[in-house]
Amino acid sequence: MTPPPESLSARTIVPPSRSSTGHGEASPYGREYWRSLAEREGLLGAGPEFPEGAEELTSVDRRDFFRLLGASLALAGAGGLSSCTRPPATKVVPYHRVPPELTPGNALHFATAMPLGGVATGLLVTSREGRPVKVEGNPEHPDSLGAAGILEQAHLLGLYDPHRARQLKQRGSPVGKEHLLEALTMRAARLQERRGEGLYLLLEPTSSPLLQSLRERLLRRFPKARVFATSPLSEANRAEGARIAFGRPLQPRQDFRGAKVVLSLDEDFLEPRGQKLSYARHFFETREPGAGMSRLYVVEPSLTITGMSADHRLPARGSDVQRLAYALVRRLTGLGVAPALEPLSQAAKSFAATPGKAHRFIDAAGADLARAKEGAMLLAGPRQPPAVHALAAAVNYALGSARGSSPLVRYLSPPAEVETGPSALRELAADLRAGRADTLLVTAANPAYAGFADLELGRLFREVPESFYLSLYEDETAPSCSFFVPALHPLESWGDGRASDGTVSLIQPLVEPLAPGFSEAELLSALIGAPAPTYQLLREHWRAAREDFERSWEEWLREGFIQGTAAEASAPEPKLERVAEAMREAAIRPEEGGLEVAFAGDYKVHDGRFANNPWLQELPDPITKLSWDNAALLSPRTAEELGLETGELVRLSYRGRSVEAAVCLAIGHAEGTVTLPLGYGRSGAERTAKGAGFDAYLLRPSDAPWFGYGLSVERLGRRRELAITQEHWGMEQRPLALELALGELGKAEERLSKLRGAEATLHQPVDYSGEPYRWAMAVDLNRCTGCSACVVACQAENNIPVVGRDNVRKSREMHWLRVDRYFEGEPDSPRAIAQPLACVHCEAAPCEYVCPVNATVHSDEGLNEMVYNRCIGTRYCSNNCPYKVRRFNYLHYNREKSPTERLAMNPDVTVRARGVMEKCTYCVQRIERKRIEARVEGRSIRDGELRTACQQACPSQAIVFGSLNDPTSRVSELHRDGRRFDLLHELGTRPRTAYLVRVRNPNPELG
């Protein structure tokens, strides 16, 4: 455990009223708190001469030294908290003038946004006494609609990460910030003489209007400078496809609300992050069982969240997807519904041969799409070549979903850079190799690690005379650059960004920086020669951009985004000849020898930038249920051919490079292909990430960033025991997570009715009808994608500890809410179903009567409650729980939390010690908060006003919570639904959480 420098912990306890004097505009209330803080964090002038904390070190004389020595010995006895208990080094003012909006003990919510991959997702952050403790979606924001994905929620922990870089360094030794500014200013002056020749910038793709304007200003000052943006999980192919179809790069944006038949070609549009949160919400609105229910076909190499939700899914090798897309065009023209596609069909002619099973699939899907007409959507994933995107655009237009008065697919000008793929990096690498670069500024996420293996960016960076790297961590790229600049976390800096529809979101800091750091805007402004704090830059930008700035600024901050800034979306007509030409040019490589390799982003660590996040590392992958690792994924049949099984170590060799990886069998994976998730195998300073998985980037070539042939797999004869939280895939013919085809729903009514309602019992059931509330939950399996956003929400809300890889391997993970995932059917074309499961709050709870000390008891309103103080840890309750949802603190999992990580704790929820049992409480703290609110207002809690953390995060609104004593509540309705069943109903536990059967809408042609 590393205690942070005291300036850090001191700052976190600074009361909001402290700096409300002197700075900023005269505003009577708390808003100026942030403004003036931002000014305090100013880059120039206002700051101290030495970095924060440096003076203590430099001014130590003999006496001070001994005094400190004595003090630290004394404090060492006080344990890890010692550094927190030291008085702040800077002047603090007690809470005598509390900002009016703040009541100590009550939470405040601030609207902000999280930029990722060029899209800013609107968030609401809960702040407790100045500490952000929970990230939720902003219900008004067009991308979030109130939901938050796993990355958005977990990035809170990144703020408090004890391994974050805190020190500005030049060639490995600490320097002050003046030193950096001096270096930047001198460089800028020299560069200006050459009009910027030799200046290279490798930037994170951004949709931030502020950063874009700064980049423009920079190019005005240094016209010969070269600016590149890169993202390891680039979506450049999308825009490139639009460029082919429409002549200019455009960003497609889907509106799933009118979708009738959707065919996804390797597009994981239900992945829980960014704009896809709104996709999930809208898509599942079309999935209500009934006549208008939509149908989803998915073609993909490895099973994804979208694939799990599919009615029909075809596993296909990554490079075969293109072939199938061509076959689809042939099918559509063959049906005669889209004669306009004839040129495409001609182009597809020689490539469109498909094997039998795929043939049937494409035939049926094509006919279905044709029938759906303007309700048909063809989606192409970012891994597919531009020609497939162009093809999809042409098909959607031809079928009618991308034209007319209310098209489902629209196009808008991309809010962020589009050239983020390997071509940009290749160009940069060529220039660096030629020695053209003199100064390099890197803000892209860890390019030396996440760049392509053949480009060797780390080595090239080292040869640049002066290079600056801005990052949250001293990662793999840091040693290659002469200056390492610690970055500010999005939750502690100002900024802006655009949603996928162009709506501008503002990013507000929730807390004063925990460690001195810089934002990209500050660095760019210094390079431009007009250094200013981010806050000032941001306000200047928007003052210039908007006339209503003075009036509306606070309104924007309050809402988190600027109304009416969405970009104009259009549905242009694709140029079919160009699409056809591109299809012809995009040669499908003939079958080559060897296995196919498919690189993929990871649900948890994304491209590796979240690898140090313990919540994400511990989260079981939604598909493989693998935690703390990645693994080479291959289908059981391919594994059998290669003689491999889960956990075996292999050497993967591809184009002359090799890496050691563990193997994991993946049900539903395409044959003959190996998926390598990116983002693991880290070797930077991030200690949490160290030792987790293998680095697939080491094999990734820049000319084939996603798929390629020729992978060889060599058995090493050793094993790595993987931490897989669910090793059993089948339901053993037990009625657990139920799924029915749409047509069977009526017939199954009687069978379902046996799985709910009262079971015969000798005991008189408790009557709860007289209570004001009878809390209950309903989980609609038909809406659940298994994305696990709820798991992270629960972890954040309830202070659930992370136990680490070894303890997960021992099945001791602490997640109160887990997502069970079952497969049925054939291993090569399985059907997968996800089932979120937390404590179901049985009315006749088996856990309660076996507890010898009354530590788990029932509340009047039907909650099954845990009394942590009383629990002595016999674990009998867990043994007797048929759902196995109780979690036990086998060790003191909270002991190793760093002082900063402790700041992320929700003060409404007890932090459990070693030796006690814990489990889902139905977010009892939220119930009590709402009860207080309602009581103050003299009313009862309204349906819908109270939401559990899991419910709130769910992008598809699968979880509903409320009182059964209110017959009109949503949860009562769902409990009365014909699809409702109780899990393990025959045990007579009378669970309060009910499940609704998932309904598939199969195409009769495919059976």
Binding site: L736, K884, Y890
Partner: protein, 458 residues
Amino acid sequence: MAAPSESALEGFPLILGKQDDRTLTQSLFAHVERKATLGWWALFSAALAGTLLLVFAIATTLYAGVGTWGNNVPVAWGFGIINLVWWIGIGHAGTLISAILLLFQQRWRTSINRMAEAMTLFAVMCAALFPALHLGRPWFAYWLVPYPSTMGVWPQFKSPLVWDVFAIGTYFTVSFLFWYVGLIPDLATLRDHARTRLRRIVYGIFSLGWRGSGRHWTHWRAGYLLLAGLATPLVLSVHTVISFDFAVSQLPGWHSTIFPPYFVAGAVFSGFAMVMTLMVPARKALCLEHVVTLRHLENMNKVILLTGLIVSYGYLTEHFVAWYGASPYERFAFANRAGGPYAFIFWTMLFCNVLVPQLFWLRWARRNLWVMWVASVLINVGMWSERFVIVVTSLHRDFLPSSWAMFYPTWVDLSLLFGTISFFGLLFLLFLRFVPAVAAAEMKELNHELAAHPAEAA
């Protein structure tokens, strides 16, 4: 020593050779009064080392938490509960031999009851470690006891774990009293024989002023019988209550009404096996072959055979009910025992507990020291396996396949198991060193009775 003689009608004699009070006193107290042998020291050192390992494992458990064991969710009970049940079961032989056989006037019990009772005590001591150790917060173990707490909180009396506290507590107390009361006359003899002052004082204190007067003997006999009467229901109740820990739950493989009788039979089975394991070498080492004769050993083997058959019947019934009950979860639980990942333990159990005791249908096996010793060790292994099968195999795959997981013991688990075995051995060695292993006073009484009524010996 005279060769064992046997008549067809009377069976093997209970006491070999011509014995009188003097020879019995000399032979039965000899091992306490002479200097410890090298072999004793060797065994003692080994047991002490094992006990130190136990102390270290306990310290680790208390310091770092029960997470140092292999337990998890779903297998929240592991070696701790297995060992508890195993040791408590072993403890059953003592009470059975002391109390029930006394009440039934089985005179062959006299030579072995002391050792069996001591073993009971030590086994219960080993067992008693686990309920507290396996807790998440062992320092609050006293919350299981109903005491007038200022918080006004009582234990939850519906929980079998609270019943356990009473069952084990009562069992230990009564067993201890029974053993100690039986020991008093012999402690007095040791006091009277003592050659050093220290021994005189120590044995003097523990013999509670016994003078061997007629009144003493009258009271002593009444008290001893009374305690036997008290202890008798305990033989049935303790393991019945322990079995409730499982039977009261609703877990497939636990939720079974056969458990109480089946556990009691299993307990007697394993207790007798443990007595055999210890008695066979001890009677040789302590030169007690003339009082612990083949007659005794054979009788013990017969009890083992009988209880083994009851246990086998228990297995049969469990499996039959699982099949007949037609609950898919129950059926799976039993199929998983025989064919799941822990199948080898199940088959070990069947081999040791069902097949091995069948040997004792054969007279030569009942009388061959090597055969009976190996068999008794195997039965101990088998009974431990049975507890493993019940605890771990039922838990690791229950209702929802999503939560299924494996249990693997850690070094702490293994240290606790072997540590308690060592601790048990240590206590037993100390017992043999300081206390007469055979109830000498009762032996003399028996000797007189046999001399007076030789025909009643059977």
